[in-house]
Amino acid sequence: MEMRREDLQVRMRRLDEDAALTFESAPRFRMLIVGGSALVLGNYRSRSTRDIDVLGPPKALVELMEKYDFNARAEAYNTCFPFNFEDRMVPLWSGEAIDFVRASLEDLVIAKLCAARGKDWEDIESEEVLGALNWALLDHLATDPDEAAASALNPSNYNDFLLNYHDYIKEHRPCNI
């Protein structure tokens, strides 16, 4: 796990270094990491991941991001995140120019239940993720009208998500919760 996290951390440092040199007097940038790399950086997954998905990247950094395989095209998954996910962002590392943060584990799981591709299920059904989840918070994000429901594109999308969510908790939520 350590080497894969380390590789991501090296690329964060390189991006920060270039950003500091390119935008010397600019205010600080914030980079929100999501997806599989957020799980690896949060120590929830120990698998290889090449590109680093970023939500809402600063426009000024997009060209630099591509040099280090940061994916600025994750916007399509914006509606998969609970509405107030930014309230729960977790700091990762602050460099000279960029504050790197990641989405919380529960927000990431909700987003993956929404996208529901095979690789997303593999991530959220891993022992490491299941062992670390706050199930009460997950339930709140899934069912509160101001969270996942508020972000969904339409009621049909939200219903599809709920079906996935109910399958997920039926299969994996511990009985004593």
Binding site: R47, S48, E66, K67, K119
Partner: protein
Amino acid sequence: MQHLTFGGFLKQYVRELSAQESMRLYPLAREAERSNHRLREPLALYAVFNDKAEVLARAAKGDWLPRELLQMSPEDLLGQLEREESALPEAAVKVYRSYLVAASRQAADDHSKGLMHRRIRSLQAEKGISNYRLYHQLGLNPGNVNAYLKHGDVSKVSLQTARMILDLAKRI
């Protein structure tokens, strides 16, 4: 530095993604089908670019394999992957983008050294720091450092060396 081909990158990438110790296609195909979705597109691309498309087509059971990739020649596939708006699966296009980043590592380092050069020159002008002071204090090769600082020749210093020079210029 040896040029990294797409085929070579795919071999490394499949190895990274897979739980298998070997590159045998039958076990890799089973893994991609049953437990490792991320492996699917890279494995298909690997097969095409390493002349193993027919073997993978035989090895893969079920409909998980993106067979449209296997039916293309490497040249046609590359042409599609290079297009801004490719018709290929996004997962395949992402693999290609990762390859471009890996193959451009030297260019990325050179770009960073160029940025550092600009900053170092600015600090030298601001603080009156000579090239001599920088290479002497760091124990560096004068010829290489002068070529880098005077002429911006990024090939003359490593990334780590450029960083050391910049750090010293900031501290003086």
